[in-house]
Symmetry: C2
DNA sequence: ATGCCTCTTGTTATACTATAACGACGCCGG
DNA sequence: CCGGCGTCGTTATAGTATAACAAGAGGCAT
């Protein structure tokens, strides 16, 4: 499993993510329309988190609609179906690194270049939730900091 | 340590949090001004996360300024000094349950009543970050779901 | 083929969240 | 006194997100 911060064959990344999305859509009767597919491709171009309005600008430049709901709906579809994730700490979106497999994702988020490495981690609050009678539906686990590439030259924290 | 979802003496909660804030401010040469103190009190009234504009409305009704920076600055002061936390998943703020003690907080967040239980948890991504050469500066750990009180009568997930 | 239903994309308009930039005032040390 | 700093107030604007409605495409039962 290549990491966002490692050197890797990114073309393979993209191809396998698209294939997984196609297969999952087939399997569930979902339609990966041109808009949705293109939105996913835009996210896949890098491992960086993109804001909804960044995505929207790209879509508009390629002939899709220019209004926020166009981007938010496509992103919503991708997130709902596990092809992308929302990075809460950045109000931004990133392509899923493990599409197809259900998982509770967690992230290392670089505050300098916005690249995101997706990690697999066990739900960390499960015992506490159990003790309280709290029913967990979704977990957000994000570590913000500096990636290996940005670490040397980024300004100090905060 | 009483939990937000447990029955507990909330007056003690409030009093000890205020006292801890006063002591910490004394110790660090910070000033807990009327605005900042009142903002903290507003958050302490419940264990629920409040939006910045909810807090602002309360402050305005009590004679403080009415513009967003008034609330954001007071909340920023509280968050920066560990007297309150920002709940990323809600874009909202909650009083700290362990003021004074440095800690990497994590939260159980009820999507129905917005109450928040603060948990102590070890930084869960430390080994992964170490392996990647990623320097963690801050972690966000939030589990969203239904608290014991809301579980019976809330609508289904999502 | 027609009519109906659902899904998708597009729009307009608006709501919600957050910060930059500037001004006034009070306090305190020089 | 006065200069610097911190705080609180303002105006204005930036950034994020969704509600509500319109139009077209395709399936499918009649």
């Amino acid at each position: 499993m290549p990491h966002a911060f490692d050197r890797h064959d990114h073309g393979t990344c993209i191809a396998s993510a698209l294939r997984a999305a196609e297969e999952t859509c087939d399997g569930r009767g979902l339609s990966l329309t041109p808009l949705r597919r293109r939105t996913l491709e835009i996210l896949l171009e890098s491992h960086a988190a993109l804001g909804a309005y960044d995505v929207l600008a790209r879509l508009e430049a390629e002939g899709f609609g220019s209004k926020p709901p166009v981007a938010y709906r496509a992103l919503g579809f991708l997130v709902d179906n596990g092809f992308a994730h929302r990075i809460e700490g950045l109000s931004a979106f990133v392509a899923c690194a493990r599409p197809g497999a259900p998982h509770a994702p967690s992230f290392l988020v670089c505050r300098s270049c916005r690249r995101v490495a997706e990690e697999a981690i066990e739900a960390p609050l499960a015992p506490e939730a159990e003790a309280e009678g709290f029913a967990i539906e979704r977990t957000v686990v994000e570590a913000q900091g500096l990636c290996p590439a940005c670490r040397p030259h980024a300004k100090g924290a905060a």
